[in-house]
């Protein structure tokens, strides 16, 4: 081998040696680049995500529910209060060791009444960091658990609603969901007032997920919700609910309604219905009670007077269709007052024929039968009032509407219209809210508006006297109260069925008292009473009892001429 060859060999060897050095450098460099890339991915690109994960592991945070506002009745008696409760969460990490979980679950089960095995299963199957296992634990139970401090248990403050009067007025009050939002009734309608502003808090945990003592920090203090005062009187509400239950039982009714309202300002003293809130959601044909409205329209148009007479033969024909009185009775020469006293259908038809369709519907619109009353309760229905412009209109409809058929309205629409006929002629706004009081002491009263004038005060006076004569007969009347003067009208209507009317009926009685200065209007309605009694027979006695029981509670003295009369 020559010198030149040796040099070439050495050069090749040196080059190979250099490549051998670069290879591991490249390898390690690549590994380092991957690691660096991953580091950038974690620390820079996904920084927020991992930061949140780390916080979730070591710091728990939650909403601190604000205590909801209290709900009072019109006399300041509490109907709904807020009490503090606890929600129990379990750290799933802390319960990853079976023995620890078993012991803690037993402690929790002993205090809360939960099943310890189900508890363990729930936590083990959970994919959350903290699994809620119980909501609204009582305050005392929470304190006991805090003292016992079972491993992994986190107690977070919450609030729950307390109902000191049990089920009283529950359909009006409504309820809230697990998220403390109002879902029904007043709780839903005035949720923005009652809810308040929730706060925020954080709690620290150790590496095992166990909360660190004194590790709870409130970030934002919650602001309690405003309290509200309702127009409901709990005593009258209780009477109404009991009377409704009794009426349904005695008459074997499937449902019913009692509404007690101030005729001058629309304040609802009591509202009881079965099914719930059917007083505002259920449409029905009111029957003869509507004769009061027909008479009021006739009087207001000065077409009739209470003394106007017509001759009743017990039957009348409208476009060839016969319309008969109740039990086909005939009364001969009859005044308009007697039409109401005996609830004569042909008399009502006589009135509406004098009034005319156009006038009649103009007034029905004024009485707002085709619109909702706007009461501060959810899901209120609107009435259905067919008019001559409707496709299926028949001239007979006008005649039947005059005595409360071929027209569908809610009990609340009816009582509002009835109130207008006896309060001087003003259509009031039925409402439940009286005032609200914020935590800072600001008080807001319900804005009372002057109601729309639908009939004249003179007409209203006449209607009051005519209705008084309905109840104040020479013979005993079931709807006549023992201690107060009053007036009222019954209604008995068959329920519409396919192409006609079924045998089932809805009976009602509507009344006001006292005569001179009405303080209440009351509607009692019973659905599908199996005993087939009329409105006067079945709902009348309920009305009489309600007036005698309610008015003393409103500080209305008995009518002087009735004192001592039995």
């Amino acid at each position: 081998m020559g010198e030149a060859a040796t040099k070439e060999y050495m050069a090749q060897r040196s080059a190979r040696k250099t490549r051998r050095v670069w290879l591991p450098i490249l390898l390690f460099g690549a590994c380092f680049a991957v690691l660096l890339g991953r580091l950038v991915h974690i620390q820079v690109i996904n920084h927020d995500n991992y930061s949140v994960q780390a916080e979730n592991t070591l710091i728990g945070n939650d909403i601190l529910e604000a205590p909801r506002g209290k709900i009072f009745d019109r006399n300041g008696q509490p109907l709904v209060l807020s009490i503090d409760t606890w929600d129990l969460y379990i750290s799933t990490r802390a319960w990853s060791v079976n023995e620890t979980a078993k012991q803690a679950a037993k402690t929790i089960a002993h205090e809360t009444g939960l099943d310890d095995k189900k508890l363990q299963l729930l936590v083990h199957e959970s994919s959350l960091v903290d699994q809620v296992v119980a909501r609204d634990l009582s305050y005392e139970t929470g304190l006991k658990l805090m003292d016992l401090a079972p491993l992994g248990a986190v107690l977070l403050p919450n609030t729950a609603r307390s109902y000191p009067n049990g089920k009283l007025a529950l359909e009006i009050l409504g309820f809230i969901g697990t998220d403390n939002l109002g879902l029904a009734g007043i709780e839903a309608v005035y949720d923005s007032l009652l809810a308040g502003e929730p706060g925020n808090f954080v709690y620290e945990r150790d590496s095992r997920g166990t909360p660190i003592p004194f590790g709870i920090h409130i970030i934002d203090e919650p602001a309690a919700g405003s309290s509200i005062k309702l127009t409901i009187d709990r005593r009258i509400q209780s009477i109404a609910e009991k009377e409704l239950a009794r009426a349904l039982k005695e008459n074997e009714g499937t449902g019913g309604t009692i509404v007690i309202m101030d005729p001058f300002n629309g304040e609802i003293f009591a509202l009881a219905s079965e099914p719930e809130l059917s007083a505002i959601t259920q449409l029905y044909e009111p029957g003869s009670v509507l004769k009061v409205i027909t008479a009021a329209i006739g009087l207001d148009l000065e077409i009739i007077t209470p003394e106007t007479t017509y001759f009743d033969t017990g039957i009348t024909y409208v476009h060839g269709e016969p319309i008969q009185n109740w039990e086909s009775r005939s009364y001969g020469l009859t005044t308009m007052t007697e039409v109401l006293q005996h609830s004569i259908n042909t008399g009502s038809v006589f009135m509406v024929e004098q009034i005319g369709a156009e006038n009649f519907h103009k007034y029905l619109e004024r009485f707002s039968f085709n619109t909702a009353t706007g009461i501060d309760l959810p899901k209120e229905a609107e009435g259905i009032v067919p008019t001559p412009d409707d496709k299926n209109w028949s001239p007979v409809d006008l005649a039947t509407q005059s005595f409360g058929q071929s027209i569908s309205i809610t009990p609340l629409q009816l009582i509002r219209a009835f109130a207008a006929t006896i309060n001087g002629g003003y259509l009031v706004q039925p409402h439940i809210l009286m005032s609200s009081l914020s935590e800072s002491g600001e008080q807001d009263e319900f804005e009372k508006k002057q109601g729309l004038k639908v009939i004249s005060p003179e007409t209203s006076t006449s209607i009051r006297e005519m209705l008084n004569k309905v109840v104040n007969t020479y013979t005993w009347h079931p709807a006549r109260p023992r201690h107060y003067s009053s007036g009222g009208k019954s209604g008995t209507a068959n329920i519409p069925a396919m192409g006609g009317y079924s045998e089932d009926q809805i009976i009602s009685f509507m009344s006001f008292a006292p005569l001179e200065n009405p303080r209440v209007v009351i509607l009692v309605k019973i659905d599908r009473n199996k005993n087939k009694l009329t409105g006067t027979e079945a709902a009348g006695p309920v009305i009489a009892r309600l007036i005698d029981k309610t008015l003393p509670l409103l500080n209305v003295p008995p009518t002087a001429r009735y004192v001592g009369v039995k």
């Binding site: 000191p164 009283l168 500080n555």
Partner: protein, 138 residues
């Protein structure tokens, strides 16, 4: 020569001054280092106390709410009616009595005419300690 002797005589005193200065300086340094520690400790203690007080306040507020609820439960119509039945009260058959007071009342005494007369006492009310003296006189 005398100046040198004088200087020598002063030397031990100056060493002393230097030592004291060193001690004071170290002490001051130590103290100034302790101040933040003490501050931190004080703040921590106060923070802890504050948190305890807050917890107490929350606990008391919760207890007040519970008591309110309990009181409202005791004042419920259902309980009042049950209690009334227990003590033998029944629904009245007669309406409640309403007393209407007219505006032309002549005097307050007129409304109390039917009531038993008041015991007439001395115009000067007897003080309690006078009886002691009266007894003493016997």
């Amino acid at each position: 020569m005398a100046t040198r002797q004088q200087a020598l005589a002063r030397f031990p005193q100056s060493t002393l001054t230097l030592r004291w200065g060193l001690i004071v300086s170290i002490s001051l340094l130590a103290l100034s280092a302790l101040i933040p520690v003490l501050q931190a400790s004080l703040i921590t203690t106060q923070g802890h106390d504050l948190q305890l007080l807050k917890q107490n306040r929350t606990r008391l507020t919760s207890e007040i709410r519970l008591l309110e609820s309990e009181l409202a439960g005791l004042n419920s119509l259902e309980r009042i009616e049950r209690r009334a039945r227990e003590i033998g009260l029944i629904d009245p058959d007669t309406p409640p009595i309403f007393i209407q007071i007219s505006n032309n009342l002549t005097s307050v005494t007129k409304t109390t005419e039917g009531l038993p007369g008041k015991e007439i006492s001395d115009s000067n009310p007897t003080l309690w300690w006078r009886s002691i003296f009266k007894e003493d006189q016997h």
